[in-house]
Each structure stands twice: as structure tokens, then as C-alpha cells.
């Protein structure tokens, strides 16, 4: 048994990859990933066409993918997030079939139960042995958790591990096991460490973001959910991270011992873990070096798969037990629907990731967003794309006040009692429009370039191309 092959080309041939198949990638190397580009170059060189890429995310380092889309090497993409670089290529109509957007949990569940079939999974591994055991916490390209690659490794017909840090067998700890791996390829570099993890995620100094953060942390305190056993997830945006810092002070001062924090981890969540705010961190993805080091060294910091993170068809998932989640928004409308897929011109610039998963699961979903960005109102009449439905969103916190979803009468009472500055979401929309004006509607074509699948697999919205 020799799984170790000399090159990616060899692995592509060994897997029997041919026209029309589906290949998969994970995005743990984030903006620093080289592997998708290396694999696609090898595939294109072999004259293979009409592939579907099923990736947890397409990042802006994947620019060369644009040429493969134009040359029909890739004719379909399924992803949970697509950055602006490839998003633009798709929005301009170059991809043959519409993109299928899923959520992090939805993708994992669809792979787990065979709804999404993957012919070959290419898994970038910061460390691996020659039989394919691998992890993300060791090696020069360490990225931390490999949670998003786990469903792919379990269920793809063929699994190729690509590493730049080949270690003696048996490697441990084991995130992805040799039992699932067909081939291993060693390359010079799987990614650029500077793009994989930031040195340290810095706290914002933007006074408006800090104001939003302090109001959001007051909302959490007033919600009645901040007590022993508290569970929490926060995004990695400026205001969301600042809330983590403020909650740490509150929890330490109040001797509140939470249960777990979930999701993508940063040094701020690590600080909370070490300060005793939580018993455990359940980590599906690391954002900075401090999080990676903590996952490596602290047994209370636990790597989990995307299925365990938020899989709607998993027998249970960690998101189900969330008390509070803080999320951002590109747009939010007066029905509390949130768009994180398209920008004001209608171009694809992102995707749900875990946004709609955790919004659906958490007892309290808080959106933190400024009224406007770059002279564009963020609170609008109708979002251009519905990523997360408004009935799963409880509160919007802006610098100009806190709007509570009217269906949460209980929460309105609690926040009113805590003297939070409550406003109607309509009045925030009006204020945003008075400040910025009402933008002309985006000029869209008739061509469908994407479908947004909610976590239950139903199409929640359709994305049209730009003119």
C-alpha cells in the first residue's frame, strides 16, 4: 500500500477524474490558500472540463479560477461563501450553471446524507503522514481546525490529502483519518501563512463600532440569557469582537461561568476561555494565531466538524444549544431579513457561511450593523438577496438605537426595563435614507446566476446577474 504520490497531476489521474465530475475543497487556509489553484491548474492541463466545484468557500486568493470558469473547465460551483473576486466573474454571467449557495451546516448535512455527491475531495492539510492522517495545528501553514473538510473526507469517493509538512507515521492528533484517505501528495507550500491567519485580530477603534458593541453587550446582559451555562457565538467583525471583550469584563466581574463558545474562533474567544467565561470552545475554524495555538495546547479547546457545528440533518449539533449569537449584515430590511450575499450593485460578495444556521438555532440572534457604510444605507426596505430570513433575527443594534423584532414581545419588555434605546426598524430605515438618500436599484439582468438554499435545502432566494 503506497498512498504517497509524486504530484497533484498524478493524484488527479489516480482518482480517475473526468469531465462532469464534482470535486471539493475546504477554505481553512482562507485568503492564503494555494491548493485550489494548484489542483485546478493540474486538472486544466489534463484537458478535463465541465467540473463542479463544491467548496466550503471560494476566497479572493482563488482569482485564477476565473480563467477556468471562462474556459469551461469549471461550469458549476456550490459554496457557502464566494468572495468578491470570483463573485464578480459569476455575477457577470461567465459561469455556465447558476451557483448553488448553501449554509455551512446545510453543506455538511447534504454531503453527509448523499444529497451532495463528491467524486474527489482535495484536502489541504498543514500536517499529514504518508497514509493520510492529518491535522491543521502543526506545520508552517497551520490553520487550526479542519472542521469544514471532515464531511468531504468521510463521504467523497476519492480523497486526496495535499500537504507541505509530511510527518512520520502515525501523525497525531488526527483530525482526518487515514481510513478515509486514498492518496497523499507533498507540495512545497499549501498556502501563504500571512493570508491563512492574521497575527492577532485587533480590536476596532472605530467609535461608532464600539458604540454599537456596547449597546449589543447591554442587550445580551438584559436578555436574561447571560447566566451560568451561557453559550455564545460571535462573528469576527469589528463590533462583534468588541462585544466579546466587553462580555469578558461583565462575566468575570459577575462570576458567570458559561458553557461553551462556538464557531470561528479568535484570540478574543481564547481570552474568554482562559478567563473562565466558558468551559469549552467548540471550534470549526480558527481566524488567528492565538486561536490556532490554543487549539493545539488547550484540551478545553475542541475541534469539531461542520456537521457537528450546525448540520440541520445531524442527529444533533452544537448550534442547537446556542443562547446568543452576534452576526453582521451587508443589508437588513424592515422585516429583519439579512443579506450577506450581494452588494448594493447586485454583485456576489459573500455568502451565508454559518449566518443563517446559527440565527435559526440561537435563542437570541443579534445583528450588529452601522446605519450606513460608504454612503449606502444598510437598513433598507427590501434586501436585494435574502440570506437569513427575518423570522430568525431578534434584534438589530445600530449606533442610532436598538430595534427588536416585533414578534419578540418578551424581549422588548426586558430591553425596555433595562432602559435600552429602543427604536422601530422602520425609523432606522428612514434615518439611514435621510442620511444617505435612496440608492437607485441595482441594474440586474434576467439571467439567474445563483440560487440560495436555506439550511433545509429549500431555495430561499435567487441571484440575478449584473448588467
Amino acid at each position: 500500500m503506497n498512498k504517497l504520490l509524486g504530484s497533484i497531476e498524478e493524484a488527479v489521474r489516480a482518482c480517475g477524474l473526468r469531465d462532469g465530475m464534482t470535486i471539493s475543497f475546504h477554505h481553512h487556509l482562507r485568503g492564503g490558500d494555494y491548493v485550489l489553484n494548484l489542483v485546478m491548474e493540474a486538472i486544466a492541463a489534463q484537458g478535463i472540463h465541465d467540473l463542479t466545484i463544491n467548496a466550503s468557500a471560494i476566497q479572493d486568493g482563488h482569482g485564477p479560477l476565473g480563467a477556468h470558469i471562462r474556459n469551461k473547465v469549471v461550469t458549476g460551483i456550490e459554496a457557502n461563501f464566494i468572495g468578491p473576486v470570483i463573485g464578480r466573474v459569476i455575477s457577470e454571467g461567465h459561469l455556465e450553471r447558476p451557483v448553488i449557495f448553501r449554509t455551512h451546516g446545510g453543506r455538511a448535512s447534504d454531503i453527509d446524507d448523499g444529497t451532495s455527491h463528491i467524486d474527489v475531495a482535495f484536502i489541504a492539510a498543514p500536517s499529514a503522514d504518508e497514509r493520510g492522517n492529518c491535522n491543521g495545528i502543526l506545520g508552517p501553514s497551520a490553520c487550526g481546525s479542519l472542521g469544514y473538510a471532515m464531511p468531504d473526507a468521510r463521504h467523497a469517493d476519492k480523497v486526496v490529502v495535499i500537504t507541505d509538512n509530511l510527518m512520520p507515521y502515525p501523525l497525531s492528533p488526527i483530525s482526518i483519518s487515514e481510513a478515509d484517505v486514498d492518496y497523499v501528495v507533498r507540495v512545497d507550500k499549501i498556502g501563504d501563512p500571512a493570508g491563512i491567519a492574521t497575527g492577532s485580530t485587533k480590536l476596532t477603534r472605530d467609535p461608532v463600532a464600539l458604540r454599537i458593541a456596547s449597546q449589543a453587550s447591554r442587550v445580551i446582559e438584559a436578555s436574561g440569557l447571560l447566566r451560568d451555562g451561557f453559550s455564545f457565538q460571535t462573528g469576527a467583525g469589528g463590533a462583534s469582537l468588541a462585544v466579546a471583550g466587553m462580555l469578558t469584563e461583565t462575566m468575570v466581574a459577575g462570576k458567570i461561568h458559561g458553557s461553551y463558545a462556538l464557531g470561528g474562533t479568535t484570540g478574543y474567544l481564547v481570552d474568554m476561555l482562559e478567563a473562565g467565561c466558558f468551559e469549552k470552545l467548540l471550534d470549526v475554524q480558527c481566524f488567528d494565531l492565538k486561536a490556532i495555538a490554543s487549539l493545539r495546547e488547550n484540551p478545553r479547546h475542541v475541534e469539531i466538524s461542520a456537521s457537528q457545528y450546525a448540520g440541520p440533518k445531524s442527529k444533533s449539533c452544537a448550534a442547537d444549544g446556542l443562547d446568543v449569537v452576534l452576526l453582521g449584515a451587508t443589508q437588513i430590511d424592515t422585516d429583519f431579513n439579512v443579506n450577506v450575499h450581494t452588494d448594493s450593485n447586485g454583485r456576489i460578495i459573500g455568502g451565508s457561511g454559518g449566518h443563517s444556521d446559527v440565527a435559526a438555532c440561537a435563542k437570541l440572534t443579534i445583528i450588529v450593523a452601522p446605519l450606513s457604510r460608504a454612503r449606502l444605507p444598510i437598513v433598507v426596505d427590501h434586501v436585494l438577496t435574502t440570506s437569513t430570513p427575518g423570522d430568525t433575527v431578534d434584534v438589530l443594534v445600530t449606533q442610532a438605537g436598538v430595534a427588536v423584532n416585533p414578534k419578540r414581545g418578551d424581549l422588548i419588555e426586558r430591553l425596555r426595563a433595562a432602559k435600552l434605546p429602543l427604536v422601530s426598524i422602520e425609523s432606522l430605515r428612514e434615518l439611514a435614507e435621510r442620511q444617505c438618500g435612496v440608492p437607485r436599484p441595482a441594474a440586474l439582468s434576467d439571467r439567474v446566476v445563483g440560487r440560495v438554499l436555506y439550511r433545509d435545502g429549500k431555495v430561499i432566494d435567487t441571484i440575478y446577474g449584473v448588467q
Binding site: 467609535p207 458604540r211 438605537g401 429602543l422 427604536v423 425609523s427 442620511q435
Partner: protein, 290 residues
Amino acid sequence: MRRTMLFLPGNNPAMMLGGPYLGADSIIFDLEDAVSPAEKDAARILVRNALGALEFGPVEVVVRINALDTPLWERDLEAIVPMGPDLIMPPKSSDAGMIRRLDEKLGELEAACSLDHPIGILPLIETALGLENSFAIATASSRVRALFLGAEDLTADLGAIRSTEGEEILYARCRLVAAARAAGVEAIDTPFPGVDEMDALRRDAARARSLGFSGKAVINPRHIDIVNAAFSPSEAEIRYAEEVMEAIEEAKRQGKGAISLRGKMIDAPIVERARRVLAMARQIEGGDLA
């Protein structure tokens, strides 16, 4: 209520847009020190347009104009007054004559644009001469709402060394409070210079309040919450004020003249203070905005 007065540079649109939402009771758009000579015109136009375009809600709007010994102050006023700010802050206010000149000019401009309520004046006391003339300054015009201490320029003028503890400005603080209160107006304390020294800021603000200041300027938005807290009535103060008002009501019902609470006679100043505390507490509570 002027617990916090936040300075915002008059040439920074992003900060001006965010300014009304940062929790300060007042914001001061600065046309003076924060703006370089080459940008004076641009800042004047920007601040004028911001006053017309932004919504300030309950936040008081102040504009610091250029000093009256420069050729700029009248042009500042001609641009700003039609937009109806709440207060004009003249820097380096050193004598009553300056305030009277400003009062006169404000009156002319207000009449020309039919403003329906007079713009107030917030003299910035930041020279030794201004400090010694502070009562005369406070009483030079009925527009004066408060005296404002500027310790950076003042300590330079005094030849004193500025410190975190502020020992060097103790006399100035006490003098300014006495002059302001004697004139029946408020006293606003100088900003605390240490951007990241939050504990020292807390002590400095508490000290200012104990000396009689009603509020304090801030130059960094991160200072706002701490300064607001320092100048807000404490829960104990609110409770006591409520008890005072209840005792008054009770005495009225019983037709009593003299009232005592916790073994102390309640006289008019105590009642007045209790009223102020409760009014302020209600204002701070805020609640629903729309």
C-alpha cells in the same frame, strides 16, 4: 444636561456623521485648533453643511469658532449662525469685552436670518487673564450658558506643568466653578489628556464633579461612558431625592411647614437639588426613541 461635551474635528466627515450617536450630551464641532490654517475654509463649509444635514436628536450642538483676535471668527459665524447651533464657543475668552462683541455679532446675524431662539455662548477660559476675569466674562451677556475650562493652553500660559493628577489646575478649577456659579451658569471641566488611562480618567472626572463642575469635555469617544457615569446621579442620590420629594408631599398633605428627613431639616436648596437629580435621572433613562 451637559455631562459630556465631545470635541469633533470640523474637517472629518466620518467622525461628524457618527458624532451624534456616541453617547455624549453635547458635541463640539471644532473650527479652531483641530483644523490647519489651509483647511479653515473647507472645514467651515463642511460644518455648516453638517449642521443642516445631520440629525442630532437630544444632543446639543456647539461650534468652536476661531479666536476673536483672528480675522476668521466673523466668517465662521456668518456661515454657522444661519444653521442655528445651540452654542458658540469662543476660544481664548479673556475679557468681558470679547463676549460683548460676540453677543453683538450674534444678534446681528440672528436678526438677518430670523432665528427664533438666541444662540448661547460657551466661553472657553484658557488664559490666565481669562481666568482672573471669569466672573465678568460669565456675566457679560445673557447668552452665556456655562464657563468652560481649557487646561492645556492655560497651563502653558501659567508656566505650569500639566499632569495626570491635575494639582496644577486646582486653583483654576475652583476659581472657574465659583465664577460660573456666582453668575448662575454651569461649569464644564477640561478634557482629560490620557487617551488610554481609563482609571486616571475616572478619578479625574470624579474630582471635577466633587469640585462643582456639571460636566466635562472629552476628546476621545472612548472616554464618554466613564465621564457620563461620573456626572450622573448615583442610585443612592436618586433614592434620596425621591425620599425628599415624598417627604415634601407628605408634609403638604399634613399641612406642615418644616420638614425633616433622616433627622435633617429639608430646606429649599435641598428640594431644588432633589428636583434637579430626578429630572436628570429621567433624562438619562431615555427609553424609546421612536
